[in-house]
Symmetry: C2
Subunit: 184 residues, 2 copies
Amino acid sequence: MPTTSPDNQARAHIFLGIDPGLANTGWGVIEQRGSAYRCLAYGCISTPAHTDTATRLKTIHDELCCVIEKFHPGELGIETVYFGANSKSAFATGQARGAALVAAAGEGMAVGEYSPLQIKQAVVGTGGATKEQVQYMVRAILTLDHLPRPDHASDALAAALCHGSLRGMQALERAVAGKERRDR
Amino acid sequence: MPTTSPDNQARAHIFLGIDPGLANTGWGVIEQRGSAYRCLAYGCISTPAHTDTATRLKTIHDELCCVIEKFHPGELGIETVYFGANSKSAFATGQARGAALVAAAGEGMAVGEYSPLQIKQAVVGTGGATKEQVQYMVRAILTLDHLPRPDHASDALAAALCHGSLRGMQALERAVAGKERRDR
């Protein structure tokens, strides 16, 4: 009879991560079981610039609906965006993010939004990590035999990992607070 | 037997106009028959700031789907947005516009995008028109007995009128170009 580690006994949670963009929207699906993570799939939805905006957004929305339908993730991790003064780029990314969030909300998924600093902190352990360090750690945590490419897919997996990690910590904080209340 | 004017014989086209915004998304549905316009309905979808973004975007998307399902507009007129340096506002509006365009593209609607200058030019006759002049002309063209409120609904109706007007001119240009080719 095989032995069962606490990690194997733990219930599996499936998380989706999205790195939205009008030209390229990265996505990644991970499974969390206890403290172990596994990559189920990742990819990037690219829409050509010569296509009209509505069609591009519908493609992003519909492709993400297919991913959600296939893997049934219960929750979504997505990066909050800081653009500095580039309002044109903010507007384009905003549109793609709108299409992505409509897809997620349509399936009733809970959404966690994280700053780039939170994602780096959760995945690498320091908010000042480089893009390459994030990619390296995404590969290591998910025990992939190669760096996830393109960058958009790697960033999406990082957002999903951040959600899994911070969500776990929040649950732990709630459990500790509950125990303290009961112990009083 | 009642006489039938050429305008009455003309086929009716139904256009939707949208003024997208995360807090307030204005919409307006108009019918064009020949050179005459009629307002079928207009409104504004407001989503409270304390609600999470995904839910707000889903509300905008779903309410617009209801409007499209009810009136079956074949085409959409929407404003292209200029934000200057305000990337935060551009991002929020971009998200709402993404949700709106996914709703329109989901129903296979053709989309016309117009600059604020084009809309003012089409509705008032001058690109330098004020907001009040646009509202006044929207009311006059659609023979409404009151100014359409709030501003977002009025702006949406103006975008729909602009689409109807520029679309008609484009069709005329195509017809003239076709006749010239045949006459050669």
